[in-house]
Symmetry: C2
Subunit: 355 residues, 2 copies
């Protein structure tokens, strides 16, 4: 059976969330010692998690953040101010605990799961990395497809497997993160392709391009969309043509969480593009998806709009790695603790309104 | 010496923050393994805390949230859907751990300090309450001043003392919270008086008034501003005329933290009005103030604008108690952990941009 056939079968087995518990979740929230709905988005989050978990006392620990790394052939076109070897160097930094995501994952109480799904360099000697390299970086998608359909499907299935293993281990909330020099170009290309958006409207500075660099990036993407004739491609075809290996892997994490019934948190623009790929491949996955923050990258607004999601945080962040997901997961944990730990008006002997 | 004279002397001793460390803080942040400034507001927060603490490795633990409770005579005018006895009932709920703030303070790792600065009912038998009642609730400010200048100054000094004691105990970040049925009316009256705003533009539903109730609340406030002739009053006079005991107490917490050099976090609309009173009493206090969230109460926007602050969070919350402060303190802790714990490009062997 091909990877594509296996993915097809898996997608067919994913169900939309059962929402029969939702009314009971809100009944519990409205019984707690606070004016009804006065905790705003915290209550909306807690109600969604409670509904997925079918309990009035939701909890998200233990949590894990899956950080997928991969390289991008399109860096040959000068779309990033950082050299491609930084991807492998940062994998070593993640392993050693020196990156931003290490601090934020620890702060949130989430385990970090590092996955090499397509780093160009050799990271086999680095501790704590899940080795699942599909190929050492994509091809330059400005001259042809980034990878084959089979490679894209294989990378998606890597993410599915990681998510399903976490679910089997008892993880109750999964976050997503990525590392890959050049991947804001792939994310912008995917966003343009899936949403029919103009490349100029979805590109940004990434890790720090100047205005001329951003213009060049938009031209590279416009050319790539044409060369790959993306308008005639299906969801997997688009992902193979102008995606990335770590983006395909994260799309698999979203689908894998949905197949296991787990809530899953998107990060910024690149993980958001992976979520977009996931719901194009598997529409039922959207019911398990929680947005974290609104990235400073302009294309992320297009992604969030297409997904119909309003993020929890707006902190002008644009780092990736799962940093926004980690902060939002911490708030989701707090929201669940509020719902599970608070007293009711009746139990605390507090008078209600209008009594 | 009168309370007012003691407050005057204290205010004169408060200095604006020393910002000489600011450049070194940004130098450290820009050396860490991430594109410069890519963590957005997290970096701004960490730099501010680092500057106040004069270290490149800031930390905010141990943290405390001061929750001041007081009652309001203006509830006689039907400005809240909840009966006034809920203030004392909620103090018991805070003590027993059943309120939203208990869950969120525990989540953030912050100690909760409960202070009775003016509850109408007797809460002397409730465990863990700092007893500093200035008077059992304010007078109805729609017919005359809520309290005397001396009572207002005494309540401010209660907050100053609580903040200074926390600083002496080693607390490094203080949050603010409040409980007091009717206090969104006092907060709106203070906002209108300090900002010269129209009462109709700064009132909201509070704990859940309907449209007619909100209109009535605005009329009560407009009448109170006239009866008390607030335009001719100084900052302490306004606080005494249309403030509240817990609001005055929190104003003291802001001033006390400034006097001790500690960063201090405002909560929503009511704690925000207290911050507004604090900077009107003591302009130097503003340099120590960190906003948390933007409340769903419309008047909070006016308060934040007057303070020149952009909040960290926008979660449509409108509960008070310090709930927004607790969530923001957790993010501030994360920001400091990022700044203190990350590797530099040099130490991690990661290539920089354009190399």
């Amino acid at each position: 059976m091909t990877f594509e056939q296996r993915l097809h079968d898996l997608v067919a087995s994913v169900n939309e969330p059962d929402v029969t518990f939702e009314a009971a979740a809100w009944q519990r929230l409205d019984s707690l010692t606070k004016p009804p709905r006065s905790l705003g988005k915290l209550e909306t989050i807690a109600a969604r998690v409670a509904t997925l978990q079918r309990t009035a006392h939701p909890a998200v620990a233990p949590m894990a953040i899956v950080l997928m790394a991969g390289d991008h052939g399109v860096t040959a076109q000068g779309v990033s101010p950082y050299p491609p070897e930084v991807t492998a160097q940062m994998v070593a930094n993640f392993s050693a605990g020196g990156a931003a995501i290490n601090q934020l994952a620890r702060h949130a109480g989430a385990r970090l799961v590092l996955v090499d799904v397509g780093v160009a360099g050799d990271v086999s000697g680095i501790d704590g990395v899940v080795h699942a390299k599909v190929r050492p970086g994509t091809a330059d998608f400005s001259t042809g497809p980034a990878m084959s359909r089979e490679e894209a499907a294989e990378a998606v299935l890597v993410g599915v497997r990681v998510a399903q293993e976490l679910a089997e281990e008892g993880v109750r909330l999964v976050g997503t993160g990525e590392m890959g020099i050049g991947n804001s170009t792939a994310a912008a290309a995917l966003t343009a392709a899936y949403c029919g958006a103009d490349p100029g409207g979805v590109v940004g500075a990434g890790t720090g391009l100047d205005a001329a660099g951003v213009e060049r990036k938009a031209r590279v993407i416009a050319h790539a969309l044409q060369v790959n004739d993306v308008a005639r491609l299906d969801a997997l075809g688009v992902l193979a043509a102008v995606g990335g290996l770590e983006i395909a892997g994260l799309a698999g994490v979203f689908i894998g969480c949905a197949s296991a019934g787990l809530p899953v948190v998107s990060d910024g623009f690149i993980a958001g593009a992976a979520a977009l790929a996931a719901v194009n491949l598997c529409p039922a996955a959207s019911g398990y998806l929680f947005p974290s923050h609104r990235s400073a990258e302009p294309g992320h607004g297009t992604v969030l709009g297409a997904l119909g999601l309003t993020p929890v945080l707006e902190l002008d962040m644009r780092l990736g790695e799962g940093t926004g997901a980690a902060l939002a997961m911490d708030i989701m944990a707090a929201a669940c603790e509020v719902m599970s730990g608070m007293a009711t008006f009746a139990s605390a002997g507090v008078s209600g309104s209008g009594e």
